[in-house]
């Protein structure tokens, strides 16, 4: 995510040839759910991709945090504090009320019914690629879809 995705964005998204959609996969219990909520709560303020980047950069910190609501909310708030222009109070309220959880869980359930049970999985105009991919593989798939 931190290496290939920026290159895909540079090559295809910035040039208007592709758009990127992120869909959460909940494979790590409470931590997965809380971090997905953090991204969604930031997204409510138009800052999803900023939080998305932080969450992937800080994966080690997230793993090292106790898997309980209070600790993970505190961690999410810490991540949120790094995002300029984010209303921290609104973010905290979103996290504490779990306002986005139901939608995230519903999407995960729907995806599992379609075989999305591991991560990452990429769908490029419907064509699936399972697992971490190199830029070459991603480029080949996107270029094929562009033809």
């Amino acid at each position: 995510v931190l290496t290939v995705e920026p290159q895909v964005i540079e090559k295809y998204v910035k040039t208007g040839r592709a758009k990127l959609v992120f869909r959460d996969v909940l494979n790590h219990g409470e931590r997965s759910a809380r971090m997905s909520e953090a991204a969604a709560c930031a997204g409510r303020q138009g800052k999803f991709w900023e939080m998305h980047r932080i969450l992937f950069e800080k994966q080690d910190d997230t793993y090292a945090t106790a898997s309980n609501g209070a600790a993970l909310i505190a961690l999410a708030k810490n991540y949120a504090s790094k995002i300029q222009g984010l209303d921290q109070n609104a973010f905290a309220q979103c996290m504490e009320s779990r306002a986005t959880l139901k939608a995230i869980q519903a999407a995960d359930a729907e995806q599992r019914g379609r075989g999305i049970t591991s991560q990452p999985i990429f769908e490029i105009n419907g064509k699936r690629l399972f697992g971490v991919q190199s830029l070459d593989v991603m480029s080949a798939a996107i270029d094929a879809a562009l033809k």
Binding site: V1, E5, Q7, V8, I9, E10, K11, Y12, V13, K14, T15, G16, R17, A18, K19, L20, V21, F22, R23, D24, V25, L26, N27, H28, R31, S32, M35, S36, A38, A39, A40, G43, G46, F48, W49, H52, L55, F56, Q59, T62, Y63, A103, A107, Q111, I116, Q119, P120, I121, F122, E123, I124, N125, M138, I142, A145, L146
Partner: protein, 118 residues
């Protein structure tokens, strides 16, 4: 006396002849010199030994120059698409289902990334 005079005259004559010959020889040595000079110069100039040195230097200098060039090449390629209107196409949005998106909503290709943040 006459014999002595004749001897002196002969000596003088021989001396003159010697001097003339010497002068002639000197003229002749001058003549080939210019011929020798170029001959000497050409081997020096020919020591196209210098050019090889220059070539060697160029070759030695080449690798470090070539390396950064190679490094710059991808940067240039990567930088190429950047000038296009980024802000317009890099907009954050959401699908009708509420999933967050990045890029032009009307882009020909949709890349869905199913991932866990862990």
């Amino acid at each position: 006396m006459i014999a002595a005079k004749e001897l002196t005259m002969k000596k003088t004559f021989l001396l003159i002849i010697f001097l003339l010959m010497s002068a002639a020889c000197a003229g002749m040595t001058d003549a080939p010199l210019p011929t020798l000079a170029p001959t000497l110069e050409s081997p020096r100039a020919t020591p196209a030994v210098i050019p090889p040195i220059a070539v060697t230097l160029t070759t030695q200098a080449a690798p470090p120059t070539a390396a950064p060039q190679n490094t710059q090449a991808p940067t240039a390629v990567a930088a190429a698409p950047t000038p296009k209107p980024e802000s317009k196409n890099l907009g954050q949005g959401a699908t009708p289902e509420g999933f967050f998106t990045l890029g032009d909503a009307n882009a020909k290709v949709t890349v869905i990334d199913y991932s866990d943040f862990l």
